[in-house]
Amino acid sequence: MTNEIIQQKLTEKFGEQLTEWEQPYGLQTFRAPADMNLKVMQFLFDEMGFQFLTDLTGVHFPERKGEELSVVYHLHNLVDNIRLRMKIYAPVAQPDVYTASKLFSSANWMERETYDFFGFNFIGHPNLIRILNVDEMDYFPMRKEYEMEDPTRRDKDDEMFGRG
């Protein structure tokens, strides 16, 4: 199995719904619509042998209006030894994503962690509560609007880190 075969098979099945095909550093990457993540993963699991969820995490892009939050899945086909990366995007106002925890038991805590830091609402998750932060926390700390440093300090501004 190669990256091209993955792309071909997925395009045959889902057509134009999967977009943004690219291969950064050799890893086949694509974007799926937010409400189709489970369908795509189930197909990958049943038909293409991607039965190992390596990683699941979130990313916040504040400048992408309407699709600020992203969930990134890294899947691994252990038989053919090939990985792929699937991304979905959701608006920060209502970040609803279907849970993968029924398909992969490992997604349970990874989704809790992603909820904890980014505030995704994983629909159907059995126990969507904070995992690393305290229960009383009322914000999602990995979102970009929360500064890590003391806001009065100027030496940690973005321009000091090559941005803006």
Binding site: Y25, F52, D55, H60, H74, S105, I131, M148, F161, G162
Partner: protein, 416 residues
């Protein structure tokens, strides 16, 4: 009895607990048997564990957030504190991630030296885990045998980087300085004396009837469930799946080495113990091969003796201090590096290495700035610890304790 209310807490106690037919046991967060900050609220009936709810996050330090405000080279010290039993593997995994992003190819000698360091730290990691499993079964002697050799490994690290536990070893593209003759003499010393002690440790435990009776059948997990739970590393291999990142996606020239992947069959405590034991021997063989390869390179190309970092990684490599004080270019470079001024291209990289506990992955998104836009650590402990309730429920409480230590859950890696 009917008006008993569930307490206002997210941990739901079962009906039996409220009516006091079973016992609720709070194992941890600072229990001597847990070797770290783990809390398990267990529902036990006599000696049987009916239910356990792990609570984690006691030493969460927000590394992923901190990493968004640190230049690349400063993140190495954060990775030290993930799995602190094998910090050099984390350091080098992170360096290789940046090298992948920047497209730096390291010379073979650097690769082999890295392999030596990584395998030494794997041995140290497995020694901790295995000897602690033995301690939890009541055999303290083995622990005292092998910990002296963990100490020797730390002394070898000291020769390379000056520190022992949280090593911050190496730089992007290689090492900060060439390896000293003292390093090689200490390494040779270790390679000569360690096998005898390891044999002794094995003689003490491997076929020890009491140890076997305690471990066989305790905390088992099937290969299918282990894969579904995202197990990697020795814990997965103990179930019989021969997945090893060193073989599946070789990094740092692991493809040049000849070694076996030990596997188990049923994934219980004994299998995990045996897999780690065998991996120590495989690591020894890899180190021996690496030393030979380094020697061969130095013999064939004497000028390679001074190669300890990739030339293209210059903008990560501090010039020697005497040059900084006397030469203008060196001074400029020094400041540029310290301020983290590098031309990192925008891009996203996933790189993984075989850590002491399994696949340690780094998912890095760069937007061209001096710091990562987003950095996520795939921490093997965090992912497989969630299978712990399934592994211990229905078993004895004493089995739950050795199952926890044989999983080698490291609190630093669990909570990041």
């Amino acid at each position: 009895m009917t008006d008993l209310q569930q307490p206002q807490h997210h941990i739901k106690l079962s009906e039996e607990s409220l009516q006091k037919q079973t016992t609720t046991l709070n194992l941890g967060p600072t229990h001597p048997a847990t070797h770290g900050v783990f809390q398990n609220i267990m529902e036990i009936d006599g000696e049987r564990v009916l239910e356990t709810v792990p609570t984690i996050g006691y030493i969460h330090r927000a590394f992923e957030k901190i990493a968004e405000r640190r230049p690349y080279y400063q993140i190495t010290t954060l990775t030290d504190r993930l799995n602190y039993c094998s910090a050099p593997i984390n350091n080098m995994g992170w360096h290789m991630t940046i090298e992948k992003l920047l497209g730096i190819k390291t010379p073979k000698r650097v690769d082999y030296l890295r392999v030596i360091i990584m395998e030494l730290s794997r041995i140290a990691d497995h020694l901790v885990c295995n000897s602690v499993v033995a301690v939890d079964t009541g055999a303290l002697t083995g622990f005292t045998y092998v910990f002296q050799y963990r100490e020797k490994i730390y002394e070898i690290f000291e020769e390379v980087c000056g520190s022992r536990l949280t090593t911050n070893i190496g730089r992007v593209g290689g090492f900060e300085r060439n390896f000293s003759p003292a390093f090689f003499s200490k390494l040779t010393d270790f390679m000569a004396s360690f096998p005898k002690v390891m044999k002794e440790f094995e003689n003490l435990l491997n076929r020890n009837r009491i140890f076997m009776d305690r471990c066989i059948g305790a905390g088992p997990i099937s290969a299918e469930r282990a894969l579904n739970y995202g197990f990697t590393g020795p814990n997965l291999r103990a179930t019989g799946v021969d997945y090893d990142v060193r073989v599946a996606q070789p990094y740092s020239s692991y493809e040049d080495f000849d070694f076996k992947i030990p596997t188990g069959t049923v994934g219980d405590v004994y299998d995990r113990y045996m897999v780690r034991n065998d991996e120590i021997w495989e690591s020894m063989s890899i180190i021996r091969q690496a030393i030979e390869k380094v020697d061969k390179i130095e013999k064939e190309f004497p000028e390679q003796k001074n190669v300890f970092y990739a030339p293209e990684a210059d903008h990560f490599h501090l010039p020697p201090k005497e040059e900084v004080y006397t030469k203008m270019e060196a001074l400029i470079y020094h400041f540029k590096i310290i301020m983290g001024e590098i031309d990192a291209p925008p891009g996203e990289v996933y790189h993984s290495v075989e850590g002491g506990n399994g696949e340690l992955g780094f998912y890095l998104i760069s937007d061209g700035g001096r710091t990562p836009y987003r950095l996520h650590f795939r921490r093997p402990c965090f992912i497989y610890y969630q299978a712990y309730p399934e592994m211990v429920e229905g078993g004895l409480l004493s089995d739950a304790v050795i199952a926890l230590s044989s999983l080698n859950v490291i609190a630093g890696e669990l909570d990041a």
